[in-house]
Amino acid sequence: MANLTPQIAIDELKSEFAFFDDWTDRYQYIIDMGKALPAFPAEKQDDAHKFHGCQSQVWFDAEWQDNRLILQGTSDAAIVKGLIALLFRVYGEKTATEILATAPDFLDEMGLKTHLSANRATGLMGMIQKIQTLAAESQKTNSDK
């Protein structure tokens, strides 16, 4: 993942998505991506790591390694977990500059926008905002040095 820019990851996802002409199949693909996500540490599955959605929950953690943001996350809902995996392909192991240059517009272009905006149902929007905030803070800290 580290070698790909966010844009390459987005282009890949879009072409993988275009392969399916049925939304049920697309969701199956998303669910399978979620199943392949590395296990989220059980001890971090607490309120401090949670983004609350009114229907499903997201647990998330991140840390910088060699100026790249390493992401961990999971959800109690399979499709949300899949969307976390999809977002990690775009934002995971990227630099602050890359993250800040990549708005989550691609989700809209892939027909997945409802999962972010719909009544804040999923907690995913909170996670994306957190990733952007971490990148902005990191960039500010580095420029302050």
């Binding site: 049925d22 049920t24 969701y27 669910i31 229907q55 149902a121 999923t122």
Partner: protein, 416 residues
């Protein structure tokens, strides 16, 4: 709304003819024909309602009650005709007993605000464990403000009210009993007539949250014997943002106004304001005129339907859906009351409701997932993360029930 045996075939009920009147049902979602099973959230609108709202804006638009010109007179006439239609549909004794509001939520808030002025710390409001948040939170706010006590009629594991608890719950401090006619989350039809009789025997007035009552049949507030009945237009084939509060006339005379403003007054001076008689006293400001007219039209349409045949049709939808869904392994129906409207709420072990709702949408099927604004009862019945709720209306078909069952099977397979 009485449950009927599933084998009774609806006589001359023509569901195709009904569907033809609902343009929104004729569309595809993600390339699949729309199967709309979210009717407990809101129903689709028949063409006559759409036309009535359209007609108002095209020809009749004017503010009501205060104008001498022809358009204002016409708008007022249509608005008041809608009030009369609501009176007929609820079988209220007098037209003054119908107050236009935004919907059930506002109707309950109106009663909480106006009736609340009579309450003191320690007074008790009795609700039930089956309530929608709209019939919990307004009373909780009175608890915060005045220090009233909120008591709760318990519910059993089938989702039925435990009325054996009622005598002990009604005390000399009970000021009002507020329950729903039909549970939105589970579909339980509550025996509100018996509840009113029991409460009245102790001199306790009753408010019925009727949001889910009218969509499945005719309501007779005089037969129910309630003091207040709250309803929403959008759940009964009418527009959103309009509904009605029925209140028995003595209450409307006695209770203070809810909001202040234009139209609700007889005269205003800086030292004294005289309020208009009910229902105007409770209708400050310019109301949702086109909504009220649309609601009146919806209820004319509603009253013209063959309700005994619809009851049989809806019972068949419910029985078929219940039987088909129960065969899915790990599926548990939440709410198995003996008397239900066609609502099936369920959870499946290993399938998150939100995933199920998303996959059903991908297959063109609209259901609601989550807690349905009824967190307490879902927690009690072991579904704290919420349920998948399929709620049917008179225009749904057995083919759509079959499509739902098939889709749930397929989604469950994808998720396990």
């Amino acid at each position: 709304m009485s449950a009927q045996p599933a084998h009774v075939a609806p006589a001359a009920f023509d569901v195709a003819a009904i569907r033809a009147q609902f343009p929104a049902l004729r569309q595809e979602i993600h390339g699949k024909p729309l199967v709309y099973l979210d009717n407990a959230a809101t129903t689709q609108k028949p063409l006559c309602v759409i036309e009535a709202v359209n007609q108002f804006y095209r020809l009749d638009n004017a503010n009501i009650h205060r104008g001498v010109h022809t358009l204002s007179a016409r708008a007022t006439e249509h608005y008041e005709a809608a009030r009369e239609q609501i009176r007929q549909s609820l079988n209220a004794a007098a037209i003054e007993e119908i107050v236009f509001v935004r919907g059930t939520t506002e109707a309950i808030n109106l009663v909480a605000a106006s009736f609340g002025t009579r309450l003191k710390a320690g007074d008790e409001i009795l609700i039930s464990a089956l309530e929608h948040h709209a019939n919990i939170v307004p009373w909780h706010m009175l608890r915060e403000r005045i220090g009233i006590v909120l008591k709760v009629i318990p519910v059993n594991d089938s989702g039925e009210l435990d009325l054996s608890a009622l005598p002990a719950l009604i005390t000399p401090r009970t000021r009002l009993l507020a329950v729903n006619h039909v549970s939105n989350a589970l579909g339980t039809i509550n025996p509100v007539q018996a509840i009113c009789a029991q409460a009245h025997a102790h001199g306790v007035p009753v408010l019925i949250d009727g949001a889910q009552g009218l969509p499945h049949g005719l309501v007779d507030v005089q037969a129910l014997g309630c003091d207040f009945y709250a309803m929403s237009g959008h759940k009964a084939f009418g527009p959103s943002g309009v509904g009605a509060l029925y209140a028995r006339r003595p209450w409307l005379d006695e209770l203070p106004p809810y909001q202040g403003g234009g139209d609700m007054i007889e005269s205003v001076r800086f030292d004294v304001v005289r309020y208009a008689p009910p229902p105007t006293k409770f209708e400050a400001g310019t109301p949702n005129i086109e909504g009220a007219i649309g609601l009146g039209t919806a209820l004319i349409w509603h009253a013209a339907q063959d309700w005994p045949a619809i009851a049989a049709h809806e019972a068949k939808l419910l029985a078929t859906a219940t039987a088909g869904l129960k065969e899915i392994s790990g599926l548990r129906i939440i709410g198995t009351a003996a008397h239900k409207v066609p609502v099936v709420s369920f959870v499946i072990e290993g399938s998150h409701p939100h995933d199920m709702g998303t996959l059903l949408d991908a297959m063109g099927i609209a259901v609601r997932t989550g807690q349905h604004c009824a967190m307490p009862v879902l927690e009690q019945l072991g579904a704290p993360a919420g349920t998948v709720r399929a709620s049917f209306a008179l225009y749904n078909t057995i083919d759509e029930v079959t499509a739902l069952i098939r889709a749930v099977h397929r989604a469950h397979k994808l998720l396990s």
